[in-house]
Amino acid sequence: MATQRKAVALISGGLDSLLAARVVKDQGVHVEGINFYTGFCVEGHTHAIRKKDKNKQKRNNALWSAERLGIKLHIIDIVEEYKDVVYNPRHGYGANLNPCLDCKIFMVSKAREWAARRDFDFIITGEVIGQRPMSQRKDTMPVVSRESGADDRLLRPLCARNLPETLPEREGWVDRKRLFGFSGRTRKPQMALARELGFEDYAQPAGGCCFLTDKEYSVKLQDLWSSRGEKRYELDDIMLLKVGRHLRPRPNFKIIIAREEGEGKFLQGYRKQYISLKTVSHGGPLALIDGEVDAADIELAARLVARYSQGRDAEQVELEVSGHSADPSSLTVKPMPAREVDPEWHL
């Protein structure tokens, strides 16, 4: 018997990568999944944080895909290395701060390294020509293959018939005739294939693969960079960008105000690293200050936070200020009236 060939499939949690892996697995290839965690992934986070989403299933879509496929899944933390992709994408950004083409190249090259270490023969992605305006075009397909170093060991089962033959096809590890020639933005062929393969209960997760394609998120990330005078972030920064109301009343600091209980609980975990504000005389949200501040800044922040508390119409609101492991102190302020809140402050 011929040796069973091994392929590693990039699993995003979306339908296309699920189908691509399945199509190859059905041809008798041993398939394992790989999923990259960049820190920007939409996965579960927001559900985990926001209380109103508590009842939604907090499943990780990539894990769920692997379960449905009956394959192993390796989740790789690329948070640190990925920063360079976000800071300096050689092929530029998409509509927002999404460096999709560089991201694809990076992930495929990581998968290639992984495959080489484990003696896997080729790599599978769920890419479809024309599906995405930036990273999945006919002319970008060879760019990903080449710049990732995967070359003809990169197989896209969903559109392979529209592309030159790859090594697994030439060698007969997979049968090209049983691959597909999908193209364009339509989702119909994928939906039909999903039905045929018994994935009809598949629900398309809202949004793209990551927060970088989100306009509001990108605005907040850009603001973070502008305020620092350089493109730089830590994992905590990009986590916090997913949570709460962000206002920048002064160039040197911004305030992050929880919008509901779940977010408050999440922000709670950051109280040792940031100055935090919490109303005590009235019910109100927890808020963090990000930046270097003086007493006047803290008072301004306190007035803003009071505005988002139940004491917004009160003469005075008392808050507890705690920060950087210093003992908490008390501050009493007059809530800021709406007219004093510059709409520009809202990020």
């Binding site: 999923n35 559900h47 985990a48 907090k58 499943r59 692997a66 192993k72 790789i76 933390d77």
Partner: protein, 77 residues
Amino acid sequence: MSDIQVDARRLLCPMPVIRVQDAMEHLRPGDTVTAFCTDPGALNDIPAWCHINGHEVVERREQDDEYIVVVRVGASG
């Protein structure tokens, strides 16, 4: 048989899964890993990951706002 403790507090999924996965990489079948998490998603994700990778979930419990999952390295791990 050794038991490794993984502190995944304050980490959001899938980071707790990654921490467990990395901790298990150099363990032998039968060894256990105890993960301490604050993201409730870990209660689903760690078992799901174990299930597909051939490891066994020995215990999952909630204690003082923390979620604790104990897993045992499987034979094929």
